[in-house]
């Protein structure tokens, strides 16, 4: 470890790991809230380290490498446990530890009284450690360590309340779907090694220059990385796990399934930016998958009735936005949206957590409403989050979403791959985002309360330990967008910062008036969406609620556009059938078959023993016949010679 404060940030994951170990080994003996405090402190310390590194990073061109120990030094691979701290990873670390710390603190209150209190914090800390490794890794395999690590933690946390069957089921689904993506990642790494002879990210990125623009190898790698990213970031068609993942405790949903882990795919692509920048085909795949996912998830979000599932689909949709951003080559924009999304989506999840907490476990929006008066802080912060995600001007979501729209509109990388259509798609999605988020807020917090008697008896505002993080996040949701103001008119802090660490792709920027026009369009869309929601769910209060579930389209949407059914029919059942078939084959056909071939040996043995008749003269005949054959062989050979 050098004297460079930046390199101290390499300790961050170990702090989190230490927290996880302490809680894991001794947590059961610690009294509440000590485990939570320890965990929060660990992540907080990590945040401080990240912040110091961020602050002292300065104007460096290249990242700071911290090499800890050798990992897999084989076959020309110089794989070590080594961290690469640059603008991109430091920003991600800030998000992870910052939002993470807040959510840890929030959890102290949220998890109050749970049996698995220490276990929860241990896993949450472990998650932070893994996520930090993911973003800090200097090589793909190490990144993969974090990548699967977060998957494992996600598995642990989704199935945290493992005594009901559906929670472990959801966890298993998440893990397996993630594994499919991981398999893509593995193959991607193999292909990278075959193509570049290295797996160190910076070396790969540097070596891309040696390849022709759009080379097939790059496209292949890009598509495979996208498979991995789609798995982790819940993009079509591997998104099915995320809605189910809401089975976990709500802070987990906030941290893992909104703010951090699910953005890992975006991070992966931004990390490999030079590669994607050199391959328009791969980028197009990224952008189109993102675009379609954004729209599809927005449609589904409309039909959901679970307070968290709406947010889950919203997350999928927002992730789609991010993929479009990194797909069109606006890597900093993608990460910028990660940043803003982490704030407002984290906030939204925590508010919904607060609601659930306040209602004693109720999650159905049909049995909510009017909570603004009962839970004022929660309602207010939720409103901030809703407006932010809807793209209301001057809030963070507005800036990042607008940047995505703008860059999509002006993309050159995907100019031949229908970037304008994508723009249209996103615009529609943005409208719908505003609308369904408006619906979410209005159904939960406005109108007449539709609470059940139980809920009504319990309902209360959450304790301070939960509301403080809400407020902090709400503030961030408002403010964080100002680091990335539109660059044509204002100073933009984040773009140059991130571009050094990713790649810069040329854009065909429209004239300034047109940019203003685009911003105007975006604002109109957001306003329109919110207005629609207002009109349907506030002005006609009461009536729309009864319309839940009516209509075939709504049912289709509620069932996630039928993806689960499709998977069951096309993947799960056939695989189970195959497994059953193979098990049968292995045991009853192959094993028996080999046994049967042994029986053949038995036949031979039987035949030989049957020749052993016991009659002397038979034996003599055999001897004579044998001798005669030998004689004949000799004689025939002699006659021939």
């Amino acid at each position: 470890m050098t004297g460079d404060p930046v390199s101290w940030a390499a300790l961050a994951p170990f702090l989190a790991l230490a927290g996880a170990l302490v809680n894991g080994l001794f947590g059961a003996r610690l009294r509440e809230p000590l485990p939570g405090v320890i965990a929060s402190a660990a992540v907080g310390a990590a945040f401080v380290l990240s912040l110091v590194a961020f602050a002292t990073f300065g104007e460096r061109d290249a990242g700071v490498g911290v090499r800890l120990w050798e990992f897999m030094p084989v076959a020309g691979l110089d794989l070590a446990v080594a961290f690469h701290l640059d603008q991109l990873s430091l920003l991600m670390m800030l998000i992870i530890t910052g939002v993470g710390a807040l959510i840890h603190v929030y959890s102290i209150g949220y998890m109050h009284g749970d049996d698995g209190y220490a276990r929860y914090f241990s896993a949450l800390n472990l998650f932070v450690a893994a996520m930090l490794v993911l973003v800090m890794a200097d090589s793909y395999p190490l990144l993969f360590v974090g990548w699967e690590g977060v998957g494992v933690c996600s598995f642990l946390l989704i199935g945290f309340w493992y005594r009901q069957k559906q929670n472990p089921d959801a966890a298993r689904k998440a893990f397996i779907v993630n594994r499919i993506g991981d398999a893509g990642f593995l193959v991607a790494m193999f292909l990278i090694y075959r193509t570049f002879g290295t797996l160190t990210i910076s070396e790969v990125n540097a070596a891309v220059a040696g390849f022709a623009f759009g080379a097939a190898a790059l496209t292949g790698i890009g598509v495979l990385l996208m498979v991995a990213a789609a798995g982790k970031s819940a993009q079509l068609p591997l998104h099915v796990w995320l809605p189910d993942a809401m089975a976990g405790p709500t802070p987990v949903s906030a941290l893992i399934h909104a703010a951090t882990m699910v953005t890992a795919g975006v991070y992966l692509i931004a990390r490999s930016a030079p590669l994607f920048a050199a391959s328009p085909d791969a980028s197009a795949v990224v952008a189109w998958v993102g675009g379609i996912t954004a729209l599809a998830a927005a449609i589904v979000a409309f039909a959901q009735t679970d307070i968290k599932k709406i947010l889950a689909y919203s997350t999928i949709s927002q992730l789609g936005f991010m993929f479009v951003a990194v797909g069109v080559g606006a890597y900093w924009v993608g990460i910028f949206h990660v940043l803003t999304h982490a704030c407002f989506k984290g906030l939204l999840f925590l508010t919904s957590g607060s609601v659930i907490h306040g209602l004693g476990g109720e999650q159905d929006v049909r049995r909510m409403g009017g909570l603004r008066r009962l839970m004022p802080v929660t309602a207010l912060t939720a409103l901030v989050g809703t407006l932010a995600i809807a793209g209301v001007p001057l809030l963070s979501g507005f800036f990042s979403k607008d940047a995505i729209l703008l860059y999509t509109f002006s993309s050159t990388l995907l100019a031949d791959h229908g970037s304008l259509v994508l723009y249209g798609l996103l615009l529609v999605t943005a409208f719908m985002t505003a609308a369904y988020m408006g619906r979410w807020y209005l159904l939960v917090f406005e109108g007449e309360p539709r609470l059940t008697a139980e809920s009504r008896a319990k309902v209360h505002e959450s304790p301070r330990v939960m509301t403080v993080p809400l407020v902090v996040l709400a503030a961030l949701s408002v403010l964080i967008g100002y680091v990335g103001l539109p660059s044509f008119a204002f100073p933009n802090l984040i773009a140059p910062w991130l571009q050094t660490a990713t790649a810069s792709v040329p854009f065909d920027y429209p004239p300034v008036w047109a940019e203003w026009l685009l911003i105007g369009v975006a604002v109109l869309v957001a306003a329109g969406g919110l207005a629609l929601a207002w009109w349907v769910y506030a002005l006609q209060s009461g009536r729309p609620v009864t319309r839940f579930g009516s209509g075939r389209l709504a049912a289709f949407a509620r069932n996630g556009l039928g993806f689960d059914a499709l998977y069951r029919a096309a993947v799960v059942s056939p695989s189970e059938g195959t497994a059953a078939g193979l098990a049968l084959l292995d045991r009853d056909v192959l094993d028996r078959g080999l046994a049967a071939s042994v029986t053949t040996a038995g036949f031979l043995a039987r035949a030989i023993t049957l020749l052993q008749t016991g009659y002397v003269r038979n034996y003599a005949l055999a001897m004579l016949a044998g001798a005669v054959i030998l004689v004949l062989v000799v004689v025939i050979a002699g006659v021939r010679a």
Partner: protein, 499 residues
């Protein structure tokens, strides 16, 4: 023709003469002395003294001072003395087994030990013979004694059957063998190997067909004693029917002698026949016989439920493995066979010793059920049996394994790869039937119905088993002890004299 000086070399004859002398002594004792244990001890003393002479000769031959008597008609080169030692080892162990069981079985007739010694004398003559007539006489001496021994339990139908079958088929085989000698003589004009080789390799030699016919009939004759397919069918029946101590003797001594003789002929007379146009014929013929032997022996043993009969078939199978060495007799095969046959003697006697200890007095009760749970009731017997059987199966680090490697290596080195593969494939089958017994001993529970006789193992039997088992293990771990002594097989005396 007056015998020249040095025609009779007494030292060469020492082992055989010692044995013969002791045969005479035991015969006399048998008339006057009723203590059979004493007779057995005397017989053992004879075998051991003969062994000392043989070992001395082997050392001498090792040092390049191999002797021969009667003008190369009786040899004491490395293979001859090595096989002599193996024969003596087998005889000694078989005598111990007999001493431990004959009395119990009511077979302790006075002529037993003299006949065993005479038979062993014949066996020694066979492996030392340098001419066909001496070989024939050795073979007959050995066989006649064994015919009588096989029928030793004259009142038992099985034993009668064994004796008469063995005798009739043996006489038939002898006739084939003698006709082979006649044809060989017809082709070469001589009976001794050295002169035959000279005759066959002479430039003007033309009676190839006659010589080859002689050769195949000699193969048939010796193949009978060695139990090569299709001359093997007596073996399972006779081994089963003969009293177990006799079977033990037959299985090891007769086999060692037959192979000792066959190897020598193959490496001299047959090898010299390989010069002509029909040169490849004999190895081809032999390899077919050996292949068939491997298959028949191993598969035949597969379904046997009696352990004795299983061992009988396994004896056939081992003839096949030894046959591999015969194919390479003029190269490493001789030494390999000398090792293999020693290993075979030890492990086979080990198995038969245990079998004798367990079987009923009337030679019944060799069913595999009798071995069930033996590890619990008689752990030492079970361990001895397990070592012997595993060695027979060729599991390292036991002697049988080394032997198998050696013969297979020899076969491959002479280009009989296919046969080597067959040997390996059939060995797998072999493992199954040997393992069945081991599994029964160690895995199954002792069953009440097939109880093992509650008797102490006689001390001589225990000694035999101990020697066999220790020898099997030692030869497996340090094969050089024996292989180092015999690995000069290429320097056959006959070759030396020709050059």
């Amino acid at each position: 023709m007056i015998p020249a000086d040095g025609f009779i070399v007494w030292s060469v004859l020492a082992p055989a003469l010692t044995l013969l002398g002791f045969a005479g002594i035991t015969l006399l004792l048998a008339v006057f002395q009723s203590d059979r244990g004493f007779i057995a001890t005397v017989a053992l003393t004879g075998v051991v003294s003969a062994g000392v002479f043989a070992l001395n000769l082997l050392m001498q031959a090792q040092g390049g001072l191999a002797e021969a008597g009667f003008g190369l008609r009786y040899l004491a080169d490395v293979p001859a003395t090595a096989f002599t030692l193996v024969v003596l080892l087998g005889t000694a162990l078989a005598i111990l087994v007999a001493q431990g069981t004959l009395g119990r079985m009511g077979l302790d007739h006075p002529e037993y030990y003299p006949l065993v010694l005479l038979s062993a004398t014949g066996a020694i003559v066979m492996v030392s013979a340098g001419d066909l007539i001496t070989l024939l006489l050795g073979l007959e001496i050995m066989s006649l004694a064994v015919y009588a021994l096989a029928a030793w339990r004259t009142e038992a139908r099985q034993s009668q059957e064994a004796g008469l079958k063995y005798f009739l088929l043996g006489a038939f085989a002898s006739a084939l063998f003698i006709y082979g000698i006649a044809l060989t003589y017809g082709a070469g004009g001589h009976f001794d190997y050295a002169m035959l080789m000279a005759a066959f390799t002479q430039p003007g030699f033309e009676a190839h067909v006659t010589a080859l016919l002689g050769a195949v009939l000699i193969i048939a004759g010796l193949g009978f004693k060695a139990a090569l397919v299709p001359f093997h069918q007596w073996a399972p029946d006779v081994y089963t029917g003969a009293p177990t101590p006799v079977t033990a003797f037959m299985a090891v001594v007769v086999k060692a002698a037959a192979f000792g003789a066959l190897l020598r002929i193959a490496s001299t007379v047959f090898a010299s026949l390989e010069v002509g146009a029909l040169g490849a014929l004999l190895p081809g013929v032999l390899s077919v016989l050996i292949g068939a032997t491997l298959i028949v022996g191993n598969f035949g043993a597969l379904l046997q439920t009696g352990v004795k009969r299983m061992l009988a078939y396994s004896a056939v199978a081992h003839a096949g493995y030894l046959g591999l060495a015969v194919l390479a007799a003029d190269q490493a095969g001789m030494a390999a066979a000398a090792f293999y046959v020693a290993a075979y003697t030890l492990m086979s006697i080990g198995a038969f010793a245990v079998l004798s200890a367990l079987m009923d007095d009337d030679d019944g009760g060799d069913g595999i059920e009798r071995f069930a749970g033996l590890a619990r009731t008689r752990p030492w017997l079970a361990a001895g049996m397990a070592v012997s059987l595993l060695s027979l199966a060729g599991i390292p680090p036991l002697a049988g394994f080394v032997g198998k490697v050696l013969v297979i290596q020899a076969a491959i080195a002479t280009g009989h790869a296919a046969l080597a593969v067959l040997a390996i494939v059939t060995s797998v089958v072999a493992v199954v039937y040997y393992a069945r017994v081991v599994v029964a001993m160690y895995v199954r529970d002792p069953s009440g119905a097939a109880r093992t006789p509650e008797r102490r193992t006689a001390r001589p039997l225990g000694i035999a088993l101990g020697i066999a088992v220790v020898g099997t293990i030692v030869l497996g771990l340090v094969p050089g002890l024996w292989y180092g002594l015999v690995d000069h097989g290429q320097n056959l005396l006959v070759f030396v004299s020709l050059r």
